[in-house]
């Protein structure tokens, strides 16, 4: 009997009638319908056209208007889900508690979204050596087990990263470039999709985008699981 990865209830009798009647196979989902409903998908016609945040119409949100004043870079992000309570709880469990198998909850959906972007190369945001030692995995790569991705970025070796979650918004917007390009040859002339788990202030993914663009990418876009 399959058990929901998130609430641990048995999923055997939770199929809806329509699911049973449909002639197509049900996509193997690792969490129950009830838990899945807690996540709020963002539709691009009701989202910020720059960062992907959920809005009532397709416009540019205030944060992004500020970004556009100071940056010259052309960068658009798409976010799949609202960073609501359920998503925060998921991230807490997956990323901070380190329950790696939970990646399976979003894997099929996220893979579809990545493929839909039709980029030449997919670049997950890297994590530090220290994080690999303690967490044991890169939470973005964990979501992409069936996607071909490249790693042209690395974290600066002297980068002693203060935990993002312990900083306030202002500190994060000020934080300096954490990345370097370790393999520029992967990027030149390509359309690049940078993938991250959560878009919070946009600082991290924009640092990455800037480097990639400067290294000669033809186009740089972002995709995050949540915003």
């Amino acid at each position: 009997m399959a058990e929901c990865l998130l609430c641990h209830r048995s999923m055997s009798h939770q199929l809806t009638l329509t699911q049973l009647l449909l002639p197509v196979p049900i996509e193997k989902r690792c969490c129950c319908e009830r838990c899945w409903q807690q996540f709020e998908a963002i539709h691009s016609d009701k989202a910020c056209s720059v960062c992907g945040r959920q809005l009532t119409t397709r416009t540019i949100c205030q944060d992004c208007q500020k970004w556009q004043k100071q940056a010259t870079m052309e960068f658009k992000n798409r976010a799949c889900f609202v960073y609501n309570e359920a998503m925060q709880a998921f991230m807490q469990q997956y990323k901070f508690a380190g329950d790696y198998r939970l990646a399976a909850v979003f894997e099929p959906f996220f893979r579809q979204q990545v493929n839909r972007q039709k980029a030449d190369i997919v670049v997950p945001i890297p994590v530090s050596e220290e994080t690999m030692q303690t967490r044991g995995f890169n939470q973005v790569m964990g979501l992409l087990p069936n996607v071909v991705y490249q790693s042209p970025l690395a974290i600066k070796s002297n980068w002693h990263k203060v935990r993002q979650s312990s900083k306030n918004r202002h500190d994060r917007l000020q934080s300096p470039q954490p990345f370097i390009i370790s393999r520029p040859e992967l990027i030149a002339g390509k359309s690049v999709l940078i993938v991250d788990d959560v878009y919070t202030t946009g600082r991290t993914i924009r640092h990455a985008a800037k480097l990639i663009q400067d290294a000669g990418a033809r186009q740089v876009n972002g995709l995050t699981l949540a915003r």
Partner: protein, 451 residues
């Protein structure tokens, strides 16, 4: 962080402050995960997991089973320090500050428990709901504390821990007592007496000279071998282990049969009465009929009788999804009654329970045993669909135990409506009969004593 926080504890190396691993002498370090061919085994919770479910990149593994307590993995290890029993000695006669008295039966049980602790045995006390278990522990605990022993009291349920804590603080005012569970913000301290959830036991190692586990069969550890594992590693190898339960499960019976556990009974409730016996009625296809808006005729008749004689009752149904249909049907049959339904996740649960408690309503339709300590004196109990798998035999005994509980109406009626005599129903009936048989003998002895 103080070194004493490691005494008898089993923590993750990643929780150690920098440099401690080298600095603290006698620190015992053990791998957290044993890697086998296709599975891994966690040294903290004892659970074996197939590699497929718990592999990290770079051929590393973790334990998903006890991850709530901080992740055990091949990237960290388990550390602990031996328990030195470094406690302030209190004079034996000053330890217990409780001044109540025990009934004759309770008194005998209290002495039995003291002996279990003194002889460092593993024992099960089977006491019916409402027997006054906690007070019977005091004598044994007082002895252990006066001997400088480390004592733990664990329950699978947080609400039980929360309820016990203030009572024990009152009873042992001079002792340092800590309450420990996942939803408490109070940081861990080295204490002689710890009250915690059974889950928290996994963060102890060879710590307790005396370990008591209350409500062994309560959700969610009911069929869990993990509880046994946790208890065995949290107590000292020669430590005493006492299980308390109103509804022992299969595992405990097996252990009694294998003589790993001795057993004693307290088959009477505090007012000296037996548990109510269960009456079963067949109700075939009641779910289908309910969909058409009908409830079993015999149930309606029983309800009518209770309402006529002003006897209040609880009606249990198996599933939350059935509540609206039951409500509609009852409203139709009893247009003058206020029909209130409640379930565990109901946001208005407390208000609804209050309606029943303050006797503003005559009955409550529910899917759950409500909170511990929520008792309605003198009620009857009906269970529609008692054979449904959601009701374990333990739950059914607990449900039956809600009836009566009042000196004026000590037993109360308990009626189950079932489609078949399912094993859970039969087991519940058997357990109650068994306890009552013992109870009758005891009543007899008492009557002779008094006569």
């Amino acid at each position: 962080m103080d070194v004493s926080e490691f005494f008898g504890r089993q923590l993750l190396s990643s929780e150690l402050p920098v440099g401690w691993k080298e600095r603290v002498s006698k620190l015992q370090v053990q791998p957290g995960i044993e890697v086998m061919a296709t599975t891994v085994r966690c040294n903290r919770c004892g659970v074996t997991t197939t590699k497929q479910r718990c592999t990290l990149p770079n051929n590393q593994f973790y334990c998903p089973s006890c991850i709530q307590l901080g992740r055990v993995s091949t990237l960290n290890s388990l550390v602990s320090l031996p328990e030195p029993n470094r406690f302030e000695r209190i004079n034996q006669k000053d330890v217990l500050t409780w001044k109540g008295t025990l009934s004759k039966t309770q008194d005998k049980c209290a002495t039995d428990i003291l002996t279990v602790f003194q002889e460092r045995r593993q024992h099960l006390l089977w006491a019916v709901t409402g027997a006054g278990k906690t007070e019977m522990l005091f004598r044994g605990i007082a002895w252990a504390l006066s001997q400088g022993l480390r004592v733990g009291l664990a329950s699978p349920r947080i609400d039980v821990c929360n309820e016990l804590f203030p009572r024990l603080v009152q009873a042992f005012k001079r002792t340092d007592i800590q309450l420990l569970h996942g939803r408490s913000d109070i940081p861990y301290r080295y204490c002689q007496f710890t009250i915690c959830t059974t889950h928290q036991l996994l963060r102890f190692k060879v710590a307790f000279d005396v370990l008591i586990i209350d409500e062994v069969d309560a959700f969610p550890f009911a069929q869990d071998d993990g509880l046994w594992f946790a208890a065995q590693q949290a107590k000292k190898a020669d430590g005493a282990l006492l299980f308390l339960t109103a509804t022992p499960g299969k595992k405990l019976f097996q252990m009694i049969q294998r003589k790993e556990l001795s057993i004693s009974y307290l088959p009477l409730r505090y007012h000296g009465h037996l548990l109510p016996t269960i009456t079963c009625r067949l109700a075939s296809k009641w779910q289908l009929k309910l969909e058409k808006g009908r409830l079993p005729r015999s149930l309606i008749v029983q309800m009518q009788q209770r309402l006529k004689h002003n006897i209040r009752f609880l009606l249990f149904v198996p599933h939350v999804a059935q509540l609206p249909a039951v409500q509609t049907s009852l409203q139709h049959t009893f247009p003058n009654e206020q029909i209130v339904t409640v379930h565990a996740g109901d946001p208005d649960r407390l208000e609804k329970v209050q309606l029943m408690r303050s006797e503003e309503i005559n009955f409550l339709v529910t899917t759950t045993i409500l909170e511990r300590g929520v008792t309605f004196p003198g009620i009857d109990v009906f269970v529609l669909g008692a054979d449904d798998a959601v009701f374990s035999s333990a739950a059914l005994v607990q449900i039956a135990g809600r009836a009566g509980r009042n000196v004026a109406r000590p037993t109360g009626d308990v009626i189950f409506w079932c489609q078949s005599f399912a094993p859970n129903v039969l087991e519940a009936i058997k357990q109650i009969k068994y306890v009552n048989r013992k109870g009758r003998v005891l009543q007899q002895v008492r009557a002779e004593d008094n006569g």
